[in-house]
Amino acid sequence: MIGGVAYHRPADREELVATLADLGDQAMVLGGGTMMNPALGRRELSATAIVDPAALGLEWVETSVDGGLVLGARVSYTTLLRSELIVERAPLLRTLAGGITGGAQIRNQGTVGGSACYANPASEVPACLCALGATLILLGPGGERKLGAAEFFEGAFTTARRADEILTAIELPAMTAPYGYYKLKLSESSWPIATAVAIGGDDERIVIGGVAAVPLALADRKWLAGGEEPAQVDATIAGLVAEPWGDVLADGEYRRQVAGPVARRAWERMQSQGGGARS
């Protein structure tokens, strides 16, 4: 039982926007509910209203005119796993969805948009959205606004979404370049400790999740491709983690130290798919 909350299920977008404007920061928007509902029940989060956007049906995967994809914010991990469009245009999200722990039940319930809005630094979603160059679409009293993923994620459990806004969709450019993904976790059903996405092709990039409050995009990758000793690469990357983030599963210093190995392994996996300069 979640005590002291009122349930709202607005009939359409206009009513939803008006409801959020009226309730302000007393309201929480329901994604999949897998994190929010139990946290509200334990009073780790406080709210007097839950707004259920079910009527908006934000559960689709569609193509966009530029060859990319648009995901409804409440698309579940299972939907990603079943989508041929994801295989063709954003296979990284299939890799991500297949690795979500907690059983099929959690993949059926959990949503990409919900995870983005929760913005747990240990979650796999923020770093993947940053690596993919995703754009998040927020709907509020002033209409829609779009934010790049790097702007959206402001800190640990903090995003640029205002209390009177709802995340409705996530735009993804097509990503068919070779990629490598690596996730370090200490037990099967644990949250990840650190993750890294390496993307090859013309726009090589690498993004590390879980080591800082927001995903860490590495601008300079020559130390990955240039044949430096792994220990030197690890030291360089550790130095780039200016303010490590930590929680009960692993403190910041541990995460800083594993950032390099995790990034190197993602890079190696990307190379094994045929991408990236070989050292």
Binding site: I2, A6, N37, G41, I50, T101, G103, A104, Q105
Partner: protein, 167 residues
């Protein structure tokens, strides 16, 4: 605050009055007296509260009751026709794959969900499929054996044209 939710459970349509913050597992147990759905961790970890909602298995401690308006839910009470064991349940019995039984309703849903999608899973796929269901008695080896037995039973049923009927 409270309100009515229209929900079909095990084929029976209900209009249930429930609190706005009430969870599906509480609606099932406390309002509809369907206590076969178990309350374990209330955090989505243990899987004992697993039910099927609109064709997908979910952990009912994570679902708001009022968000289930229009949903069709199957609980363990509707897992198989009255008086009949589903082949998965029979295999769990035959392989001693449970002791206290607390995890059993959720485990049955997770295993049948696997076999509906994959008729011949590898052992690691079986273990992955029950990764969201905790059993503190058995250590899971007998679960894997039970799934193997259920696969064989379902194949036999299917060959004989006697596929198990869903309730």
């Amino acid at each position: 605050m409270s309100g009515k939710v229209g929900i079909t459970v095990n084929g029976i349509a209900h209009e249930v009055e429930c609190e706005d913050g009430e969870l599906l597992v509480e609606v099932l147990r406390d309002r509809l007296a369907l206590t076969g759905t178990h309350v374990g961790c209330m955090n989505g970890d243990c899987g004992a509260c697993t039910v099927e909602r609109d064709g997908e298995i979910v952990k009912s401690c994570l679902v708001l009751g009022r968000s289930c308006e229009g949903s069709e839910v199957t609980t363990i009470e509707g897992f198989s026709p009255p008086g009949e064991l589903d082949p998965v349940a029979a295999a769990m019995w035959d392989e001693d794959a449970f002791q206290c039984g607390f995890c059993l309703p959720g485990m049955l849903f997770a295993i049948r969900d696997l076999l509906d999608a994959n008729t011949d899973p590898e052992d690691d796929e079986i273990r992955e499929a029950i990764a969201g269901n905790l059993c503190r008695c058995t250590g899971y080896a007998n679960h894997v054996a039970a799934v193997r037995r259920a696969i064989a039973a379902r194949a036999t049923d299917s060959a004989e044209g006697d596929a198990p009927q869903r309730a």
